[in-house]
């Protein structure tokens, strides 16, 4: 196993998995909690990365984080505004914003399709320089990311327990009840989407500083990956208590990255990579249903066999 999956590969998978888990958590808020399909994730992720990269290049790697989150909030606000005030279908609103963001992202990056932040300090390089031991150099990124993701998880858990958080959950769960409870659904949807997109922006910012580069096509397919992580997480951790559901998102996206790492290790050609991703997603989503179907078929066969035996007995008698 160590030969096949080295510590380095596992570490990288975990690091990227943790960053992606923030996008999964973002979709958890919009898709699972609010019951809204927010397809602006791809664009918002790139937006977070672009804004983060520009602020980092300007010499403020820490300021880049709130800046990217703020950019995400703005994007989420526009999506919410289209849905709530102008009655655009939620899926359509996401697609419209996503399309518009492409130009915005290019503009943020000074109308070039990629930006490199090599040679400037990032939060990872600053954190790395705190200690010079070999162990620290290897694991510091993972420790930093774990700290960030754990903090975010606790914040989400706390937020969903507040009266505002409960109102947001109720909005996704029972619209009729919300209208009868003096909650303004337009307000809760807006707040929910802003929070969700802030997390996407944060993830974009972190991946930009982690890879030390930002590309205009970075976010392509992100919503699929996050959705896959979400489904894997829900399959693995269940839909029970809130803390488990939140942790499920992290477990799900790390698990997804592991499968990708294995595919990489098996020398799957890069051209086939999107297909591999799609297949993984399809399997993850179909797995619980397939399991049910197999169990049902098995039961059916058994019943047939039993009946056949009974009839056979009667014929003999």
């Amino acid at each position: 196993m160590t030969g096949f999956l080295t510590a380095g590969i596992i570490r990288t998978a975990l690091e990227v998995g943790l960053i992606y888990s923030l996008v999964a958590l973002s979709l958890f808020i919009s898709y699972s909690i609010l019951n809204i399909c927010d397809l602006s994730t791809d664009g918002c992720y790139t937006l977070g990365c672009a804004v983060g990269a520009i602020v980092t290049i300007a010499g403020h790697p820490f300021l880049a984080i709130p800046a990217a989150m703020l950019a995400g909030i703005c994007s989420g606000y526009v999506t919410a505004l289209l849905q709530t005030k102008f009655g655009v279908e939620s899926i359509l609103a996401g697609i419209i914003v996503n399309t518009g963001l492409y130009t915005v992202n290019l503009a943020v990056m000074g109308f070039s399709s990629n930006v490199s932040i090599f040679g400037t300090d990032t939060i990872f390089s600053i954190f790395k320089n705190l200690n010079s031991s070999g162990f620290w150099k290897d694991w510091c990124s993972l420790i930093l990311l774990t700290a960030i993701v754990v903090t975010v998880c606790f914040l989400i858990k706390w937020f969903l327990g507040t009266t505002l958080g409960l109102s947001i959950r109720a909005t996704g769960d029972s619209p009729a009840m919300v209208r009868a409870s003096s909650i303004n659904p337009l307000f809760t949807i807006t707040v929910g989407l802003c929070c969700s997109n802030a997390l996407t922006g944060l993830a974009g910012c972190l991946i930009g500083q982690y890879n030390k580069t930002c590309d205009i096509n970075l976010g392509t397919g992100m919503v699929t990956i996050a959705l896959a992580s979400l489904v894997i997480g829900e399959t693995l951790m269940g839909k029970g208590r809130m803390m488990f559901r939140i942790l499920g998102m992290v477990v799900g996206s790390c698990f997804y990255r592991f499968i990708i790492s294995i595919a990489l290790r098996l020398n799957v050609p890069t051209e086939a990579f999107k297909l591999v991703s799609a297949v993984i997603v399809a399997i993850a989503i179909a797995a619980p249903r397939a399991k049910q179907l197999i169990a049902f078929k098995h039961k059916q066969m058994q019943a047939f066999q039993e009946r056949k035996n009974m009839r056979g007995d009667k014929a003999d008698a």
Partner: protein, 271 residues
């Protein structure tokens, strides 16, 4: 208390599906009035409820609640003062949230609840919820962390009633709220409704298809037809009325025989 004056509402105006749902609707409800509403399907009973609750804005006319013009007040603001129960017991609660979480969402309506949007359910809130749940006598006070989706229809409707009245509303609107429940549960929920309304002197409108209920419950009976209240009886006259009187009255006012099987059936049951 509640005053509806010359309210009109037409759906799908200018199309073949045009439906005049409310035509010159007038109603004045006094403080503490408990009126039952009967009428055939499409008479405008639910439309009237929706107009009062603010699910849509009316075409013309105005609605006043407790001296305040609410004609153009948004639905979520009105729901601070108006409690509402639907026929479908699944509509009033959030299935994936626990009993406690549902109650705390309902508790948001409390005007004294001004601790801010980031406050959590406190110990005293929880005690209050438990105390109120024990009034239902369904053992729900020991299942505060159960998702509401796991409760039965009757339990959910009882919970919805509790949520709608947790903060005493100025007006309670019941849209056949026991129609989808089994007879014994329906009786229980109805008893509870009566008790809460009486104890707290809540003004109430209740749609029913049961003629007995229409005459027995409350202090006033309204009959609707073609988007209008065609008959309004209270006091002495009402106490002497029989179900047959009521049916005759309907024919007289509406100019046609009552064509609703459910009403006729429930009459036979009752007699």
């Amino acid at each position: 208390m509640l005053k509806i004056e010359h309210v009109f509402k037409t759906f799908n105006t200018g199309t073949v599906n045009e439906k005049k749902a409310l035509t010159d609707l007038n109603l004045e409800l006094n403080d503490g009035d408990f009126a039952t509403i009967i009428g055939s399907n499409g008479a405008g009973k639910s439309t009237m409820f929706n107009a009062i609750a603010g699910s849509f804005y009316t075409d013309s006319g105005f609605i006043e609640l407790d001296g305040e013009d609410i004609t153009f007040t948004p639905e979520h603001t009105r729901s601070r003062y108006i409690g509402r129960l639907f026929q479908d017991p699944l509509m009033g609660t959030a299935p994936h949230m626990t009993i406690e979480e549902n109650l705390s969402v309902a508790y948001l309506r409390a005007s004294e609840h001004k601790r801010g949007i980031f406050s959590h359910v406190s110990k005293s809130d929880r005690d209050k919820f438990r105390e109120q749940l024990s009034l239902l006598d369904m053992g729900l006070e020991n299942r505060m962390n159960t998702p509401v989706g796991l409760l039965s229809g009757g339990q959910r409707q009882a919970l919805t009633l509790l949520m709608a009245t947790m903060v005493t509303p100025k007006l309670l609107m019941l849209d056949e709220h026991t129609a989808a429940l089994d007879p014994s549960t329906a009786a229980k929920v109805l008893d509870l409704t009566k008790k809460i309304i009486k104890e707290r002197n809540i003004s109430c409108l209740m749609v029913t298809h049961n003629m007995n209920q229409a005459l027995e419950l409350g202090n006033r009976t309204l009959m609707m037809n073609n988007g209008n209240i065609v008959f309004d009886v209270a006091g002495e006259e009402r106490s002497h009325m029989t179900i047959n009187d009521l049916l005759n009255k309907f024919e007289e006012n509406a100019g046609k025989a009552l064509n609703n099987d459910r009403i006729l059936l429930s009459t036979k049951e009752g007699v």
